[in-house]
């Protein structure tokens, strides 16, 4: 299985090439430089492997949530690459990518992920490590104020990760009744984890056409109609 993953949903910008379990990747913290960096990263990992796009089996991208503009940069890019090379696309949650990072790095069994969504809210989701070692969503992905994040009472001993934890650690820890054992408030999504999640999803038949590769913003109230009515 050969798969290329890209992500630019947060301050991080990354590309990763999965080659039957081996990963070649690039990662940079570069707010506002994603349009500049993303395609050169793609080119670099392909060149390092000596591969061309059409030799791959699929593409993957961080479909959000995250910065609206950042999510669209990766989305538009993956649409173009996939359409040009005739490849299927696997959309991957950026929250799941953060959870997978904690599973791989910390051996986490349960991960509570929060990305700072600004405006006093977090993008929030909880994950369990499944039998395949892959982050599996428990409940729903939501955008809510940190005091309102939905909980899963039957699960304990959360690993916690994401910039939402960096900003709202106290509120979230209290909300989880101090069940957060290990907090990584700086962890960002990385294409390495997106690739791993995408390979697993692809093997179970998850893939869309380039036109169907679309962002998941979670926050969909972005404006008010004239007169203040929503």
């Amino acid at each position: 299985m050969k798969l290329l993953a890209i992500d630019s949903a947060t301050e991080a910008c990354s590309a990763a090439l999965w080659l039957d379990g081996e990963i070649i990747s690039r990662f940079e913290l570069a707010p506002r430089r994603h349009t500049e960096l993303l395609l050169p990263m793609v080119d670099a990992v392909l060149a390092e492997a000596g591969l061309q796009l059409p030799q791959l089996d699929a593409l993957a991208f961080g479909r959000g949530p995250g910065s609206f503009t950042g999510v669209r940069i990766a989305t538009a890019s993956v649409q173009g690459l996939a359409w040009a090379a005739g490849l299927p696309v696997v959309p991957v949650s950026t929250l799941a990518a953060i959870a997978q990072g904690m599973i791989d790095a910390q051996g986490a069994e349960t991960v509570a992920c929060a990305i700072d969504a600004r405006m006093g809210e977090v993008y929030w989701a909880q994950y369990c490590r499944n039998a395949r070692g892959v982050a599996e969503l428990v409940g729903d992905e939501v955008v809510v104020p940190p005091v309102e994040v939905p909980l899963t009472p039957e699960l304990k001993a959360w690993h916690a990760a994401g910039t939402g934890w960096g900003v709202y650690a106290d509120v979230l820890r209290e909300r989880l009744d101090s069940q957060a054992v290990d907090i990584d408030g700086e962890r960002l999504p990385d294409s390495r984890e997106i690739a791993k999640l995408a390979v697993d999803a692809f093997s179970r038949g998850v893939a869309v056409t380039p036109e169907q590769a679309l962002p998941v913003y979670l926050r969909n109230k972005v404006t008010h109609q004239r007169g203040g009515k929503l």
Binding site: T35, L39, F68, R72, G80, W83, E211, P215
Partner: protein
């Protein structure tokens, strides 16, 4: 050679394929006007969200309709500015990644250069050099066009763009968004002799414009009237006459000062019939793109992109968009 053009700088998603031997092979446009109408103006975030949903399917359906395979394309051109930054990024990343995936060059296009060159898509086309009057919701400019890439801005609006003034005045008169064409329709039933509006800046030398005062004049006139439907029609007529006259006077002055013999009218306001009738009385050959190419479209980007490609302006893989971008610095 075939160039695919992609336009996403504001609230229209436009795509087209231009062939340097065969001309325009086809174009598609998805307008977001209905989406933004309820807000009374373009909401940038909603525009970007719509572009990322619509652009790729639009390209796919265009190429199928004109029976051009992706491998049959020789380059991709995309609008890199000026415009809404988030909207521009969608078209730029889509266009650049398409070109990379196909192994062909990508060229960035200046949106206003697209408008300036749009008349080149018609059978009746001007020859260089010519004067261009760009009149849209975002721009009001008189430009000396020496050659592709060689532009001198002779005058521009110091405040509202002419299309913006049309839309704002229309809104004041209670007309639905986008109000420009609605105002022109209402003006048809207006009495031209009832109100006399000023012609801003025509008694001063130079080729700059100012339209915000006209909008205020319309507001004050409306406030003093009984605001009946006939009053509104009369105000619409007087406003339109004042705008058209002002544009006419400045265009005539620019033709005299430059000694140029042809005028190109581009941009959405170029579709206004009263403006066309008036400009046709100028002592110059006047060229208009068809109405569909006056407003934002992919065809003008494909055409300008072809010229850029022929001039050797291919881009690297690092994509940048230019929300503010001077027309004069472009170069040939």
């Amino acid at each position: 050679m075939k160039v695919l053009g992609i336009e996403t700088s504001c609230d229209e998603t436009g795509v087209a394929v231009y062939d340097d031997q065969l001309g325009l092979l086809g174009h598609e446009l998805y307008s977001q006007v209905a989406l933004h109408a309820v807000y009374g103006g373009v909401v940038p975030e909603l525009a970007s969200r719509d572009h990322v949903r619509k652009a790729a399917p639009l390209i796919d359906s265009l190429l199928q309709r004109i029976e051009v395979a992706p491998e049959g394309l020789d380059a991709i051109a995309y609008t890199a500015g000026p415009g809404l930054v988030g909207a521009l990024m969608v078209g730029a990343m889509l266009g650049r990644s398409l070109a990379y995936g196909l192994g062909i060059p990508a060229v960035e296009v200046h949106h206003m250069e697209g408008h300036l060159l749009a008349p080149m898509l018609e059978d009746q086309r001007p020859t260089f050099p010519f004067l261009a009057l760009l009149v849209s919701g975002g721009h009001t400019m008189l430009v000396r066009v020496e050659a592709v890439g060689d532009y001198q801005v002779l005058g521009e609006s110091l405040d509202d763009a002419v299309g913006e003034a049309f839309d704002k005045t229309a809104k004041m008169l209670g007309l639905p968004y986008p109000g420009g064409p609605e105002l022109a329709k209402l003006a048809l039933t207006g009495d031209p002799s009832r109100y006399s509006f000023p012609r801003p800046m025509v008694d001063r030398p130079g080729l700059d414009f100012s339209f915000s005062g006209l909008k205020t004049f319309a507001l004050n006139t409306l406030a003093k009237s009984a605001a009946t439907s006939q009053d509104k029609a009369d105000i619409a007529r007087a406003f339109e006459e004042a705008v058209v006259d002002t544009l006419f006077i400045k265009a005539r002055r620019a033709l005299q000062e430059t000694g140029l013999g042809s005028l190109v009218v581009a941009g959405g306001v170029g579709a206004n019939q009263r403006l066309r009738d008036k400009l046709d009385t100028l002592d110059a050959a006047v060229f208009y793109p068809r109405p569909a190419f006056c407003t934002d479209n992919g065809a003008m980007i494909a055409y300008a992109g072809m010229q850029r490609l022929l001039a050797g302006n291919a881009m690297g893989l690092a994509v940048a968009v230019h929300p503010r971008w001077s027309l004069e610095g472009l170069g040939r």
